[in-house]
Symmetry: C2
Subunit: 157 residues, 2 copies
């Protein structure tokens, strides 16, 4: 199985990119993980949050059309412990889907059409994280999940 983290808007912060690169490098020995970035909508300043979400919709739907399973990272989703997240990944690997996609929406979330394609909504926290920070957090958690499944020394209970 391959994991894709689909995120809206360029990662412009140097430290976020560096952190992501670090975890992607470490993940190579466990599983294929790839970031797909949907570029920022041009001239978005005059748009309402709703208009922005709708403009992003087509690009997201296009990017997830080959996905076997889609998980949305959403503050209103169910929270998991790191162990539960590892178990979730394991169950997805056992089912044998080819492409598991984690969708990180833009600053205002995703459209209803996108939500219809989602099999599960996961919240990383009750806290709101920036859509930049959340990318770093999700890739660290995928790494943590893989070390848990392999019994490697990274996670302490």
């Amino acid at each position: 199985m391959k994991i894709i983290i689909l995120a809206v808007g360029k990662t412009y912060k140097g430290f976020i990119n560096q952190g992501i690169e670090e975890y992607l490098k470490r993940l190579k020995r466990y599983i294929k993980v790839e970031f797909k970035i949907i570029p920022d909508i041009k001239n978005s300043k005059g748009l309402s949050p709703e208009q922005l979400i709708n403009k992003e919709e087509r690009l997201i739907l296009n990017a997830i059309k080959t996905a076997s399973d889609i998980i949305l990272l959403d503050e209103k989703g169910k929270e998991h412990t790191s162990i539960e997240l590892a178990q979730l990944l394991q169950s997805k690997m056992l089912v044998g889907g080819k492409e598991l996609v984690f969708v990180v929406g833009g600053a205002y979330g995703v459209s209803d059409e996108v939500k219809k394609r989602i099999s599960k909504k996961i919240a990383m926290s009750k806290l709101t994280f920036s859509h930049q920070m959340i990318r770093l957090i999700v890739v660290e958690q995928i790494y943590r999940a893989m070390t848990i499944l392999k019994g490697d020394p990274y996670h302490h209970e």
Copy 2:
């Protein structure tokens, strides 16, 4: 009021340091925030988690002795939304304490003696974050809290 983030063990990851620097810089217009780092215990490889926690104890107690209020970041603590965290900070500022300390324990947590000094335990998530990542997350959340309290455009509900 001054906020101190007290963390155990050096931040060795370049991207974590960079992210922290970025938020500390942005926080300057709102409130004094400072990191205090308790250096790693030397020759800790032969120590059990318990022995390590006890060695760190004296250093932590020493670092928090001037604190007016201490909050422990702990997976077993209560989760807050970013709005609730902002309200908590506001209430601490209204009480007028001089030094609010957030304690980020080492990889294995903190000792019972340290826990006795704590007024509140807060969990950032049900997920386990590395004690490195948690530093970045807490400083971003303090920044977010300040923008919420000032009504500045960073946080979207």
